[in-house]
Structures are given as C-alpha cells and as structure tokens.
Point group: C2
Chain length 464, copies 2
C-alpha cells in the first residue's frame, strides 16, 4: 500500500459522533438538557470542523438559536410540538427553504432568493425542528461534485450526492441531516462517513420543492447517528408532509420499533460485488457468520432459484434508473439548456441522452422496474429481508473519486425501504451493512436492523 | 317555465364554432391559409365577444402574432415543428407561463411575475403552438367562481373550473384550450358550452407547473371543436412533456384514430342521474336508441352483476376524490393559511377538513379508488366502453350556479380516459354525451367516439 493510502484513522464499529436525539427527550422535559444547549454543542463542533470539512453551503445560527429557544420552552412546559421538537437538522441544498437560499449545487440557482418551503422543510418546522443550514450537494444531486471532505479522513470523499449531509452527521456537527437518494446518494455517503443512512419505501414522503431529476425514483432519506432518530424523523415527515400524492405513507408506531430477530435473510450480491476487495468482503463475511451463529438463516442465491432470478434482475437496476433519469429530466433540463444555462461535467452527457430519449424507451424502463419489483416481492414472501454491503468499498482517496453507486441501485430502483448500518470496518474506515425490507415494511426493517446492529456491536442479542 | 328561463338560443347538435385545426394542415402547406391568418380570425372573434363573455385573464396578441408568423413560414417551407405548429391555444390560468403571469384564480398569486413554463406550456412551445392567453379559472381550480359567461347564453354559467377555456372554445375564439379536471372541470364546461372535452388516462401528461390541489387525481384535459384536434394535442403533450413520472404515456398513432364501431357498451348511470330532468333523460335515451338501431349492444346495469357492482362503487367516487383533496392540499395550503392568506368561499371549509385529515383517512380513500379501478377493469374485460351523460343537466342560469359535478366523478376518480361529445341538446342548450374507455385505451375511445358522433349527427355510419 503506497504511503499516502495509509489510513488516517482506525475507525471502529460502534463509534457514534453524537448521542441519539430521541434519547434526550427525558432530559429536555426535566430541564437537565435543552434544545438550545444541544444546538450550542452542534455549533461548537461546526465552528471547529467546518473550515476543514466544508459540509455547509449556508447556515444561520441566529435563526436556529431563536427556534431552539422556543423548543426549549415547549419541552419544559411539557408541550413539545412533536418527537422532533428542537431537533437541529441540516437539509441537503436541493430542499427549498423560505429563509435560506437553495442553490441545488448549480450555477443556475446560485444566489436566487429563498423560495417557498419544500413540503419536508414545512413539515420539519411544523414539528418544531431547528433548521441549522443547507448542506453541500452535487449539481442537481447528480452532476458536478462539491468540495466537501470526509470527516474521518479529509483526503477522502464523503460520498455523493448528499455529501454535506453525510459529512455533517459523520463529524458530529448535527445529529440528523436530510439527503435524497436516486441510486445511492444517502446510503453510500452514510457508509463512507460511518453512520446510519435510511431510504424509506418510494413515495412515503412528499418531494415537492426538491425538484429531483427523476421524480419517479428519487427518495428523501436520513443521515443520523442512530436508528431511532431516523424513525422519528421519517415518521414525522410522512405524516405531516404526507406521502407523494397517490402513494401510501410510512406505517408504524410512534416509538421506534424494538429490536426483533429476523428468521431468514437473503444474501444480496450487489451489482458491484466484483469490484469489492478482499478486506471488505471479509468484513461482511465475518458479520454474516456472527449472525448465523445466533441462528439467523442466511440464504445464498445459488441455493434458491427465486434469489437467482432476483439477482439477474438486480444486475440491470442501475441502467434502468439511468433510462428513467434521461426521460424524466427532459423537463425542465432541455428548457434550461435551450436558454443557454451551462452544466457541469456529468450533466452534459446526460442531456445528450435526454434529447434522444423516446416514450418507448421510457415504457421499457418502467417495465424493467415492474419486473424487478415483482422479483423482490416474490422473494419477500419467503425472506424477512435482504442483506449485503451498502457500497462496494470504503471511501476512496480523492474528492472526485465518488466510488461505485451500484450496491444500492436494486432497492432504490424497486422503491423498497433500505438502510445502512455502521457496523463493519475495512482499511481503518467504515463500511456499511445494507439491509433491505419488503415494500412498506419499514417497521420490520427497523426492528431487524436494531437487532442486527446490537448483535454485531455488542456480541449479544437483546431478543434472546 | 318563467319568462327569463326561456332559451336564448336553440343550439343544435353538430354546431361547430370553428373548423378543425388538423384539417387546415394541407392549406397551411399550400399557402392557401396560414397560422397567422387563423390567429387573426381568432383575434377578431375575441375582440368581438370577449367584452361580454370574459373568458380571458390576460392575452398578448403581439407575442402571438410573432409566434404565428414563425409557424406560417415553417408550414410554407414544409418544416412544421409538429402537428400542432401554429395552433392558437388558450391555457387555463393554473398553467405557469414564462411570458404571462399566472394568477391561479387566487389573490395570493395575482400580479406575480411570470414563472418558468409548466411542462405542458414548454411542450406546446416546442411544437410551435401559439399561446394566445390565459383563461379564467376558479380559485386554484376548486374555489371561488370567476365571472365568465356561457357564450351560448350569457345568463348561464360556462361551467367550472375550466370556465374560460370552455367559453373561449365554445365562442369560437380559439380552436383549442387546455383545462384541468379533478372531478368534472373539463367535461362539464365542455358539455355546457357545446364542444368536445377530453380527459385522458391519469398520468399520461406531466402536471409540473400546474400546482393542482390534488396531484394524484388532477388531469390535463382539452377543450376542442373536434376529436382530431384533441388527439393531436394530447399526443404531442404526452410525448413531449412526458407522462407524470412513473406513469405511462398516451399510446396511439400520429394520425387521429379512424372511426370504429363499438361492439358492446355499458350504460353508466352517473351518480347525479336522480337530478336529471325528463328532457335531458329523453335526449340521452333517443341517442342510445339510435345507436342500438345500428347494432351496438348497450347493456343496463340491471342486466349484469359486474355493472351493478361497478355502479355501487361509482356512487361514492366524488366523496373519495374529496377525501384525497383534503389530504393532498395540506401542503402547501396549510402553509398559505398560517401565513394569513385569505381564501374564497369554497376553500375555507376545505381547509378545515384538511386540518383534520389523517394518514389513515388517506389510505382509506386510496383503497376506495383501488376498488373502483378494479371494478372498472373487470367490466372493461366484457365491454368496449361506458356511455352516459357528461353532466346531470344543461348549463344553469346564474353564473354562481355551477351545476352538479358527479357525472364525471367515477372516470376521473378511477383515472380512466373519458370524453364528452356535443351531440345532444335539451332546453335549447347542448348536453354532452359521455364515453369512458379502459385505462390507457385512448386510441379505442377516440375511434369509438368518432363513430358514435358521426352516427348520431349524420344519421349514418362511416364504418358500415
């Protein structure tokens, strides 16, 4: 290994940059801690680390302090607006806000005045959350890469496209940040930065005001240090912003699901597995062995034709998403293009494809997605979920080396809920364990993930 | 009948305010007519009739003339951009345009500067269509009623919410105008004003930039004097703007489908049939008898349990739509409300319901829609389509008397393609004949409608 590839950290599974926000509620109520105090701890970390990491496009501590003070008073009065009242949160800069500009990583939008709150921003404020700032995104969450650094090793990428949200949570600047995922844009950066990343089922949270390039496939997702914080945020967003019109919302209890042992999991060999090195493979295999040792059955595709057929469909999932992208981006990107707006490196070639895209191509891609969903649904009748890596490797050295996005493409394309747990390490860096659930099976997925995380980190099982 | 209820007109089926735009293509190519000449004829009618009718919020003849001149040159060069190059068109004022303000019938939006083109406005320009102006809508296409008058009898309503688009086409000011339909907002005003109104299958045309109160159910639709103009416009919009992301586009040939005789139609008793008077009922019954005389089988619900079950599901379709509305309008209307924006009469009570709406209510409404769709799908296996009235009555006297919207609620709720033909009359006013097709069966629906229209108007059949 060349000298400058040596790890700068020796990250260990179980490392948490911040405690759970959900766990602070009792202290808030008792007056032993407060949203304002929590915010000040976050601001101290931001001031210490932001100059090196560059997670934010813009922040506004004054507004955040005012909002945190109001939340502090509500908790002490016993009248919090919601489970996330006072939560300091960062928003990927594709999410429109009425009090901060929204640049979408693009020169077209840079410097525009603030707009109407996106549905999720409005829903956060309804619940009392404290929007601290907007975090760096690639251009329109798909193009040119920003300059954010990985908080665990500043030579490395934090992952894309929710780079700033991942870096902010990974550095402990914030307990929660929102991202969006079209292929891997929440789970891969969460894997690279060593925290929990969750993408719920497609449609459970309204996307208005986010202007995704591919509205049929893009998801709002969360970066958090804990599963329970992801649960309370996603559930609040789904119930307050509502689902994407015509889709169903997130189903489950107000309290984060208690750990539950999965019976049988299907091994998911993500499409980029061939690029996964021996150390990363070994980290996963060790974890799977530990789970098997507790009695969880983990089935390989070679042992079940249903899984072999699923794996074949997964192989083309990234290509299917890109075919959907090049059709759905026609509006408004062909209009932007005709007006002479300039795009960064990755968007140019996509525009060429958008120009050539036909409705027949689009119907083919929708058909491929329908088939992938059907194969996942068939497997979900026999398995409690799917398990694999969240990324083909740890974060690479070089801010432009964003890594391969294929590991999470199957679940994203199919619109299934998926999450990454920071329970594996390789090369001194974190590597995410991916768990995928059945469509709208968030409650079971969270319960299984809590059990798996506990089992791998504590070496025991809360359910035994 | 009291004196002032006497008809001012004696409207006759077959009356066309303007010839088909599609039929002018050969003359455009040959230089015997031109988009500019057509536009001037439209402008002359607008100048003559607009002061009385009030169909427009705003128009811009200078811009329209420039666009029409460019189209004129392209047709004469043999290089039209599309089948709708040079088409003078009006847009319901919920459709954002970059060169004209978009008021959405609301004091909140009145006077705002123009915005980015909605997907359909952009697609129209891509095809060379000439956007003449923006037409009157009720508040957000659901609330307070505008002051537009019915061009056939100015004492009467033109119908809502696409009031201005219906009046403009009914008066011959424009050959085509776009509307939108949540329950009946294209087909009912088209029925009242005596022209063709079409609502395609849900999802075949992208709605971005229209901000519907209920995105899961709202449709772009057309007001036209002929079926062929509706076909070329809808097909162009679907292929250029694209479908709603995740949905399939309009399937069918470039040329309007040739007339084809339906084999078997199911009689659709719309939920408001009980309010339909004897004259209107007789107009429909006479038409059905004429169709039966040509050998078309028309089956009554009492003769088929599949249709009886469908009818039961149709009875609650309007209530289902309103439950979807009160959930989906939560964002952004609760935000508008919190900011102190004031709404007109109908929106206030809806806001109260929106405030009380829960995710569980929403899931119930989606379930009711799924059941309605399933019952239509079951019937579509046996029937070529469904036939009934497009409205429970002719246009009422009094601009605030918008009439009952229930007749078109079943097809709109289920997302099936439907259209109204101006082939019936009662009380000296037009009454629309409703035809509903199977999901994504636009090509068959248009072919059957062309045959039905020809048969009823000409007394013969082009397919025999």
């Amino acid at each position: 290994m060349p000298d400058d590839d040596r790890p700068h950290t020796d990250w260990q599974p179980g490392t948490r940059a911040l405690p759970s926000f959900h766990g602070l509620a009792a202290a808030f109520r008792a007056g032993k801690d407060s949203p304002r105090d929590l915010l000040e701890r976050c601001i101290a970390t931001i001031e210490a680390r932001e100059p090196e990491i560059g997670a934010f496009v813009v922040y506004d501590f004054d507004r955040a302090r005012t909002a945190a003070d109001a939340a502090t008073a509500r908790w002490r009065d016993g009248t919090p607006l919601s489970a996330i009242d006072g939560l300091p949160i960062g928003l990927k800069d594709v999410i429109s806000t009425e009090d901060l500009p929204t640049g979408r990583g693009s020169e077209i939008f840079a410097g525009r005045p603030p707009e109407r709150d996106a549905a999720v921003a409005w829903a956060l404020r309804q619940g009392g959350a404290v929007i601290v700032g907007k975090t760096v995104t690639t251009e329109f969450a798909i193009g040119r890469i920003g300059r954010t650094r990985n908080p665990l090793d500043p030579r490395r990428t934090p992952g894309t496209s929710s780079s700033g949200s991942a870096a902010a949570v990974g550095a402990g600047m914030l307990p929660v940040a929102l991202g969006s995922q079209l292929i891997s844009s929440v789970m891969r950066p969460a894997s690279y930065c060593g925290h929990v990343g969750v993408m719920p089922s497609y449609g459970v949270i309204r996307m208005d005001g986010m202007e995704p390039v591919c509205p049929s496939t893009d998801h709002v997702g969360t970066h958090t240090t804990t599963l329970e914080d992801a649960w309370i945020v996603l559930r609040h967003l789904s119930r307050t912003a509502g689902p994407i019109p015509g889709w169903r919302g997130l189903h489950g209890p107000a309290e984060p699901p208690a750990p539950a042992k999965p019976r049988r999991l299907a091994r998911l060999y993500e499409p980029d597995w061939q690029h996964t090195d021996a150390d990363c493979r070994a980290a996963l295999e060790d974890a799977l062995k530990s789970l098997c040792a507790t009695g969880v059955e983990i089935v390989e595709p070679e042992d079940d034709p249903v899984l072999r057929r699923l794996e074949a469909a997964c192989a083309t999932s990234e290509a299917t998403i890109m075919a959907l992208v090049t059709n759905e981006m026609r509006w408004p990107f062909l209009d932007y293009d005709a007006k002479g707006f300039r795009f960064g490196l990755r968007l140019g070639p996509l525009m060429e494809k958008a120009r050539a895209a036909t409705m027949e191509d689009y119907h083919d891609a929708l058909g491929a997605r329908d088939e992938l969903r059907a194969r996942f649904d068939a497997a979900a009748r026999t398995y409690d979920g799917f398990i694999g890596l969240s990324a083909s490797s740890v974060a690479a050295i070089g801010l432009d080396n964003m890594g391969r996005p294929g590991a999470t493409a199957p679940a994203t394309c199919a619109g299934l809920p998926a999450l990454t747990l920071p329970v594996l390490a390789a090369h001194g860096m974190p590597l995410g364990l991916q768990l995928v659930g059945a469509a709208h099976g968030e409650a079971s997925l969270f319960a299984h993930a809590a059990w798996v995380g506990w089992t791998l980190l504590e070496g025991g099982s809360p359910a035994r």
